[in-house]
Amino acid sequence: MSATTAPTPAPGPATAGTEADGVLEVRDLAKHFPKGDQDLVALREFSITVRPGQFLVLLGRSGCGKSTLLNLMAGLTRPTSGQILYRGSALTGPSTEIGYLTQHDTLMPWRDVTRNVEMPRELRGQDKRSRRQEAQRLIELVGLGGFEHHFPRELSGGMRRRASLARMLAADPETLLLDEPFGALDAQLRTELQGELLRLWQGTGRTVVFVTHDIEEALLLADRVVVLGPVGSVLLDVEVDLARPRDPDEVRVDPRFVALHKSLSAALKEGAR
């Protein structure tokens, strides 16, 4: 598309060496799942480079291998072929530098909010007082103050999402992988958490890979949107050159937004055929 080459002022240093200086580099990635005599191909020859500090949104319909890709990037599963480099070295397993917020809540149901949030630091062996303090700070940050001693089942879906977010941040990762994190939330709450996420990202130099099937969400958040088709084929790769901060109500009527929306929508449709 037209805007792809135009560099935006927002995303970090001028990208000179393009391929070399990615935080995450995915090369010829393939993932097959054995199913009876056949293999189910979830991902095929997928390559992408994520630049440091970039907010990358992977946009695609369900079943295009987005979650598979994120599981691979998080180091939870091993690729069938190809490789993933994190800061230049091959990723062989989960790393505390990479935070992963999965699509479904994985809070420990037998721990209250505080003990869930402090868990990454507990496993790291940090002493109780300082990890409690940090957990408290993060709980306030995601707006869960007053619910420290509630168990996950006593919280609403949105509150569990916030708790999960706080837990991920407790590990202090420099790269965040988010798999449709706000998919199941109502519109207001989603907007709010999107805002919180942007606040957390801006000025920290963190890199974000965000998976969604929602075009508007993609355009509100992203520096760059990659539209995925079946088995992880790249249908479109655009820089989003909209000025930040993007007000959700105003940006929707921005002609640039409308144009991008149209092209993303067209790309998604094309992938469906």
Binding site: A74, L76, G93, P94, S95, T96, I98, G99, Y100, T102, H104, D105, T106, L107, M108, P109, W110, R111, M119, P120, L123, R124, V142, G143, L144, G145, G146, F147, F151, P152, R153, S156, G157, G158, M159, A171, Q188, L189, E192
Partner: protein, 287 residues
Amino acid sequence: MTATTGAVAGAGAGTEAGAGGPLQVQAARGFRDKHGRTTTVWAWRTALLVALVAVWQVLSGPVLDPQYVSSPLGIWDRLADWVADGTLWTNTWITIQEIVLGFVLGAGAGAVLAYLIAPIRVVWTILDPYVMALYAIPKVALAPLFIVWFGIGTDMKVLLAAVSVFFLVFINTAAGVHQVDPALIDAVRLMNGSRRDIALKVVLPASMTGLLTGLRVSIPYALIGAVIGELVASNRGLGFLISDSSAKFDTDGVFATLLVLSAIAMVLNGLVGLIDARTSRWKPLDA
């Protein structure tokens, strides 16, 4: 817009979650709201018991032969006699010891073995049919064998109770281990947790429901195992009291012993209820 902000500011006194969270307020509930249902339930339970005992007492004699059905007053007299001469307490104490020892032994072995074997899927799969085959054996059928092996002392009863408990705890705990949500294990892996972290901080607490189910369902079986052991061969214990009384055609004695046994069962059930209450706060997370 301004109106809403004003309202929120006004309500700011309560504990309020950042935004979108529910509000927590002090609830004013009276005795009726809190305990009304429990009171009704207990009232009915008492009434039912009293009615049943009264009918039994009235019918026993004129209509039914007390030689076969005994009577509440007859049972009461027999219990009073037994309490007076110490028969009741010595025999009850022996049975309780057998139950508790058998339960602890069986549950301990079942839980430990389940945690050792169940996480290793291959071993579990290999052993599974044999475990099920042994589990299916009626434990009464083991009594003669246990008499040959361990004699007719308390050991035999303890072990009979233990075997019954063992399988229930073992199988339920193993099921609990196998039902651990893999996503929770992944969550700990993402925190760079070791295998030990996964075992202690995910598998152990997550399988606790399975273990507790095992403990809960097996408690009555400890009682059954011990009493059956006593019925088969012994000269003391509540099982002995039953067989001894029935041999003398003393139905009062049989019923009196049965009453004591159900009292023990109720106490044991109460203990299980306590175990349950401790863990139920977090249990389901399916929403």
